[in-house]
């Protein structure tokens, strides 16, 4: 902790991230662990709870103007639901919010998700630092895009 940090106002611009499990999936231990890890990494974390629809996830992402949406599913529906979130983003003309994924995702699906713009796609056992690095990189790209339009 930097001395006095809580006494003065923070100068940095924390990464804002939305965590969501869109779809019928109640396995939230992983995403809760990540939520706390992201908070401890200095991010502003919003978790929308269980069972949001893809529409709710996209609306929330826009209203909160997050840098990154992190989707997690462990029920095998990622090719349907992650895709739906990416499609809705595109329909609404949003290209300055990054989407990352995680959960039980077979290796064969990963390139397909990447093609939709959903990166990361980490499975169980991934070191948290690796996930944080990836999100920091994606967020930096997005911040640059917002600032310059490129």
């Amino acid at each position: 902790m930097d001395p006095g940090k809580n006494q003065s106002l923070f100068k940095d611009k924390p990464i804002k991230i939305l965590l969501a499990k869109p779809g019928i999936d109640g396995h939230d231990r992983g995403i809760l662990v990540l939520a706390k890890a992201f908070r401890d990494a200095g991010m502003e974390v919003i978790y929308v709870g269980l069972l949001p629809t893809p529409e709710e996830v996209v609306d929330t992402a826009i209203n909160e103007d997050v840098d990154v949406v992190a989707l997690s599913l462990l029920n095998g529906a990622h090719m349907t639901v992650f895709k739906k979130v990416a499609d809705l983003m595109r329909e609404k003309g949003v290209r300055d919010i990054a989407i990352v994924g995680g959960g039980t995702i077979p290796d064969a699906d990963k390139p397909k998700l990447e093609k939709l713009g959903i990166t990361g796609n980490y499975g169980p056992g991934t070191p948290i630092a690796e996930i944080i690095n990836h999100i920091t990189e994606r967020a930096a790209e997005i911040r640059k895009l917002k600032a310059t339009g490129e």
Partner: protein, 315 residues
Amino acid sequence: MKVLKIEEIVQGILDGNRRAVSRGISVVENDYDTAAARRIIREIFPHTGHAQIVGITGPPGIGKSTMIGNLSATLSKKGFRISVVAIDASSPFSGGSLLGNRIRMQESLSKYGVYMRSLANRGLNGGLSRSVWDTVKILDASGSDYIIVETVGAGQADLDIVNLADTVIVVLGPGLGDEIQAIKAGIMEIGHVFVINKMDRQGAFIAMKDIEETLAMSPKGEWKPPVIGVNSLNGEGYEAFIEKIQEHRSFVKSHSDLTMRKFRTELQRTILEELRRRFESDISHFLSDNEEIKQLVRDKIDPYSAAEKLVKKIA
């Protein structure tokens, strides 16, 4: 859609476009002292003044977020446009934050299309965040009728909300303490409407009585803060609650000195911040590891005299 430019953000805010509103808030939150943020506020400011800003404060866990969910649903059904701003604490260690207020109101948000934004306090004490003053201006200019602001779960001394909101709702509940608790200074003095939540719980009526007695002893202003009991699980008491909010709105509208006082307080805050910003580099220069500061230590100069001496140099 391409990336939003400042003029698009301004126009979008005035048109009530969600994406523009969201991005505008991000600009005033992240780049508050840039020309872009100032320009947004400058250009939308003439369009503000319509919304009633309702502040909700009270101890953590008393049901503020759930109450906002019910309140925004009931007001939306009456045809009003509602926006919600909820503030949570940032970690003093990492600077990160878990913005968890949304989860309690998601249902009403989706169902009634209520705009909701979570802000982290980013180290500001007092129950609010620095950017919240500009955030409510943006939401006001975007056409909201009511802007509901939820403070960080507040202690007795987190009272900034009184300078921001037109109407301050203090939420309390059964089991929070006796009448001694209720006559302490601070949170009991800032409420325009007192709400006892969880009326289904034991002790709720005693809590109501304690608050009413305390208020009866307070100096009599023109506005007498009412005490309302509600049950957020079944919506009991919300109609009376909303009536009081609207009553207070007409009271504020008919007292222009209140608006004036609010403006003065905000101007004072902004002037102080502007001064701080302007002299920030001077101040950090004084504090840096230079010969002068070492001399002050060697001469055993007390902090007041030292500060006076240094500040003279700027002026």
